[in-house]
Symmetry: D2
Subunit: 461 residues, 4 copies
């Protein structure tokens, strides 16, 4: 297992077409670099805290994110890792969809496809690669089927003897440009006649024709402005990108599903449940970070004795522990499929629904506690300026321990939580809340519940 | 292990001062009988579904409610039992506070007190007794300390060589009159000088001076009116009572704590966490019952194709699975104390907070789906009447399978869910939501979260 | 204008087929009498507080509920009356749907139909009649059209020279049996070929074939048990009934719409908006009552100094004033139609949506403040009993001013709020919240809002 | 009355110490210019739509924002103006606190102070000045009184014959640098001995020692990056600043309160109620803008037929109409004070509470409807770039009418709504929600409500 610096050095060797604001950029660009920094922590923390497990495939310990979980304890270890990463980074660690894809593929692939996947997985484990995955196609006009607007979906445009040519785009692949391996999965199920879209594969750095167009939120604009803490969070704002596949050749050994509509359905279900469940642990960690910030802000303002504020901390604690406990419960009540231990599907989706509600509640409490200042504070540059510095020093100062600089650091961090793209990401990452509710509506066992009622009230019908 | 009928026969042999509407009643009274019926299911279901475990104390299998849990699996078994009971009964099973008391006592008692308790526990297990417990003192004027209004708290009024005389009342002891053993625990912690109130003990059927004054909700008035299904739920409406101790003698062997303020605090914490956590599983089962009813009502009205209603079923499923998953997670992440496996305290309280919110949401969805009819339907007696029966037959009929009678049974069951004392019980059972938030506010580890933030943003203070 | 007693005497002269629990009952029945008591207050309070206005039709002052509102001030007077009635009665005043029907008919009827209606209205005003109205047909299997299950809708089954014979039922007509005049309106719009259902008319006491089958909630069972305050609210629990029309003859002069599908649509829209808007004022009054009870309970428990509880009172105040203000705003921004001043339709529906959310929030706060006792208290009969009275006296007592009896009265009143059919009634009265949202979705002016955005961001499409 | 361009020309003549990112900037700076643009609309729209009223003071029509409202209709006109401005600008119009200050001063000042104020008001009206006001002092350690940390509050540091020297800062004065007149009001009430802080006055462009340090949100960083629509909203992101008073001399004729603790209390109450009430109309307009954006996004995605999304538009409509109706209701039920018509205080605060809840709900619905793309979209610069433009054209395109550019404009506007400082501003502008609840808790008439309950249930105590 490599460390964070080794990971960064490796990534920086790749040649990648990354674009910010319409221009090609390198790995040192201020919108790219935080992603590397965040991912590097996934390496260092795994070593430091033991978030790894033994892999028979390579006969040694591997990062828990680079293998499939085989037991409830493996899964809980993954959730513990996720929660801690979220709490420490206060943003995406970028690798969880990669881990979800590994677990999903391993639980559904069989025969040749499984062997191909194991070949890649061995390479991933041997090199301690960082993986991500992408699902969301642009979709354009949602009232039309894929076959009516082919270009809006990743698809096979040519079959060759040694592989396929794919074309299309994925619009939300967080951190893709900072990964060693990128998985591509279909974003939905397809009907007969739509086999060209039913394709799942992996890309590696040597593949040509891949373009990464980064998003541009306000927080990223702040990152480009520099400063030490003005951007709020040194690990950045869920940096994602549109990945364009401009006639990319993929050799057969990295094509795992092609044309098999049923396998696509199975893969998506496994991926979605895996991702939504780890998302509950992730939200727990995010709420932990917001809770820490809220608790510090209470001190910074000398408000420790105000019960109404402190009780909000208690409610935030209910949110984070509740979301985390759901993930743990789903792990314990999970199911084995092809040697992979998957979380209970219903609980996983419940975790998504309750986690998002809790996240929004925590944001509200943080905003209540922090007051208006995260929206109106001067900048770090005002603090450093000869003309304005003395005023900022004087007027931003907090209760005894908190210098103006420290309070401003905290304010900027809270501003990050309240005005970054986190709210959107929490709602839609791993699929919208509505998608989870629809899953629950179709997959829950209502007949047992109906039967209990029938029996209690002696119903004939 | 006995069965439900044996339990009922045994209880009916006791001579008890039970009062309904100011008059002494027997076990056949329509407000008492449903409690026996509900508790009898705790016997039958334990046998049928294996909700028991081996006890070294008596060298045989015992109901999981009559022993302390020693492993996470024991605790999960208890939560599974609880959830199933709640789903089947759609009301209290009355024995969970008894089980919480057993777990709490066993986790804190030491030395002589522990031996005394083991003596009673052996008897409980040998006879397969049903136990309940009570904590809530009347408290009167909450601005005054117990010592300023002694009669408002259960207390020792006389010490004798062979035991103590206790006096006072507990105002919410659900199902007390239908139990073999009733535990009494202090409802709060006390200060020095208030040792007379710091007393925990058990009562048995032979004790004199105990009065049970039942509450009188609308649902209980309906029970007294008879009919087969008009009362909505054959297992009754969380039937509780005020237990009055009118100079009751308790022998020393059933006094487990007396005057030890620290032990009271420990006992209360263990009890509260145990009860709040099982309460999350309980809410899951209640929501299951409401979901079953909602799903049936959708059919009864021919509304299966209305997405807006079906999606509410999905949300109800998120609530029940989420609450249950929290209980499971708390069990897995629990702690051992004196050989007892207790749920994680923070998660237990999170389960209370999230469970209650979910319960209220589920009620709302059930009410939305059911329409106004649970508040305005004719009665079973109108259906049976010569004068009105033909109209009820004609106008209450639902979609194809649902006869007027079946639809009316379902309507009355939903009326029960929406107008019984369940809402109050869910909010306040095991302590109010505010009590859980206060616990979370004092016991959560905020410093780790603060430290993560400090590190991320490089804070000096 | 008559007074409350005169109204009661008049009603008691009518011969009506009213049924409770399958048996024919008279006006002194404990489930009927509270309705008369509640309605009598609508007479007395109108006189006492000036809730009347001048009618040119009869050339004198008439109750604001028995005329159409002609100005914003008329409408605000009606809302003030409604709020005060709701606060004082803590239940339905039963006459608002009658007033809504009068306003709806007057705003849409023209020509002969209008003259017919004016004839009846003159009679209503001259006699100071109490009016109600009903809309909801049983509907049976909602997946079928009315023509596929004719008996599930009120319809004309025979035309005669002097009038029509109608048959069917209305399932939720609150207080119908205590009114002088009952209006019947269709519960939905109809398509061509369904003209038989498109009928709106009025019934009077002399009409034969009308049956009133009362609902039977828990609160009504308590009313039948007697006592002075055990039932919680002397004015009863939104007492409603199924009204069966068993081949009822209606003379043409009381048939206002028949077969005119367009008029039905207009009538329904006017009625719904009128009713939903007054419903916002009604919820305000209900929340006022809950707030008063909560404030008293805080005193009764000696908790005046607990900020967390007092702030809930502040939030309840926001709910009631907000709901009321919406009604006032809708009145001011209303529209004139045929001389009738109707509230703004969009605001009226907004009032329904926000009012119901606020009502549920207020219930939650009341439950939080009251604690568990409203679900577990002994009864008034226990207080009066020789055997249990001294215990109730001792243990139910509150802070200084509050005797056990007074605290128990208050507890029973709060129990009424939390376990009566009010929650169902608030959600579904005047149509469900979903019905209002659907109205808002179709009738709101989204294009102005879209245009503002288009202009701000310079959109071409 | 001047037009928008004339206003801009006048402002640009002032010499002001404005700082962005630690550097002095001019009125053309991209963070300053949007404020001028927004305020200019307050001039043009007032003319175009008649948002003005006759002023006896200057004997001509004046902008409704530059005079005190004398009737309910004046106040409703102000709310209509506010709502329309919010809908059109999708951000602050910056002048409402100025108007609130004018109304508050006019309702409380008497004698000499009133004359002084009238002198300034005449000048304001004659010149059609734009006014703002500020209240919030930095407050530092909230556990200490002002006298323990004097520099944290604006205060009089020297009295001169011709005026006073003031020092201190106000931390959230939105748009201050773009106003002709800035009012300074105390941010809280004071105790005896704290008279130095009890000072209210006005500043004009000629005053020396005033510094404006702008905040620096992500949205402002985007503004600095340029582009036509990348910043989302051309009118900017609630641009506010810390105003530093570095020994500023204020002549007596612009000092309206000094040392009068009672007047400070009255002024603050009048200001807060005025501002919270107009805030409800403001939230209505903001929600209108979000609703327009949501409705357009549904089209842009071809999702017009998805009921679940359209019903969210209905709910958003309930929010905006409800909030606006509360403002109208408060105007109608307002009170006259010294010739000023103030909104009903309780309703005004209810409007704040309900408006903020509704705003948060609308944000959630907008986020649900928009999907993840507002957080992950490429930038306008990517669209314009030779290297990436063709990909953006291809993959961002929406349903038929929506070109990639138009859809991207819309996406950026929604990104603005979801990640700007609007959420913080909505919560805390005009005081936090908690501040309103505290007001409601102290000022609501609970005794009338208690009395209604007492009477209904015949309470003795």
């Amino acid at each position: 297992m490599i460390n964070g610096d080794e990971y960064i050095r490796r990534i920086k060797c790749y040649s990648r077409d990354m674009y910010v604001m319409g221009e090609r950029v390198g790995f040192d660009h201020p919108n790219v670099e935080p992603v590397l920094k965040a991912i590097s922590i996934t390496y260092d923390l795994a070593k430091e805290k033991g978030y790894h497990t033994y892999s028979e495939l390579v006969n040694r310990e591997v990062n828990i994110l680079n293998t499939c979980c085989r037991t409830p304890d493996d899964l809980i270890k993954r959730y513990d890792f996720q929660r801690e990463l979220s709490m420490r980074l206060a943003t995406c660690n970028y690798r969880c969809p990669g881990a979800d894809a590994i677990n999903a593929f391993m639980s559904v692939l069989e025969g040749d496809e499984r062997d191909r996947f194991l070949g890649l997985l061995r390479e991933i484990q041997e090199n301690d690669y960082a993986c991500t995955s992408a699902l969301t196609d642009p979709k354009g006009d949602r009232s039309r089927r894929p076959s009516e607007q082919r270009e809006m979906y990743v698809r096979v445009v040519e079959e060759r003897e040694d592989g396929i040519i794919v074309e299309g785009a994925k619009i939300h692949q967080s951190g893709a440009f900072a990964a060693d391996v990128n998985f591509f999965l279909p974003g939905q199920t397809f009907r007969e006649g739509e086999e060209e879209f039913a394709v799942a594969f992996a890309l590696k750095p040597e593949d040509r024709g891949v373009k990464y167009i980064l998003q541009n939120t306000g927080m990223q604009a702040k990152q480009r402005d520099g400063g030490e803490f003005e951007r709020g969070n040194p690990y950045g704002d869920r940096i994602t990108c549109t990945v364009v596949l401009d006639r990319v050749f993929v050799p057969w050994e990295r094509v795992f599903i092609y044309g098999d509509l049923k396998k696509v359905r199975e893969l998506l279900t496994a991926f979605a449940n895996s991702h939504r469940c780890v998302g509950a642990a992730c939200k727990a960690g995010f709420v932990d970070s917001m809770t820490g910030a809220a608790s510090l802000m209470i001190r910074a303002n000398g408000l420790e004795k105000v019960q109404a504020l402190r009780s909000k901390l208690g409610e935030m604690s209910a949110v984070s522990e509740g979301a985390y406990a759901i993930a743990v419960g789903a792990a314990v009540k999970g199911v084995e499929k092809n040697g992979v231990w998957l979380p209970d599907a219903i609980m996983a989706n419940a975790g998504k629904v309750i986690g998002v509600e809790g996240f929004a509640k925590a944001m509200r409490h943080l905003a209540d506690i922090a007051g208006g200042i995260p929206g109106t504070a001067p900048s770090e540059f005002d603090l450093r300026s000869e003309e304005t510095g003395r005023y900022v020093e004087k007027y931003v100062r907090g209760a005894e321990d908190f210098s103006a600089e420290d309070r401003l650091r905290l304010i900027k961090f809270i501003e990050f939580w309240l005005t970054s793209s986190h709210y959107i990401g929490a709602l839609h990452g791993g699929g919208s809340v509505s998608a989870s509710v629809i899953f629950l509506q179709y997959m829950s066992d209502f007949s047992t519940k109906e039967d209990a009622v029938r029996k209690a009230i002696n119903l004939k019908s």
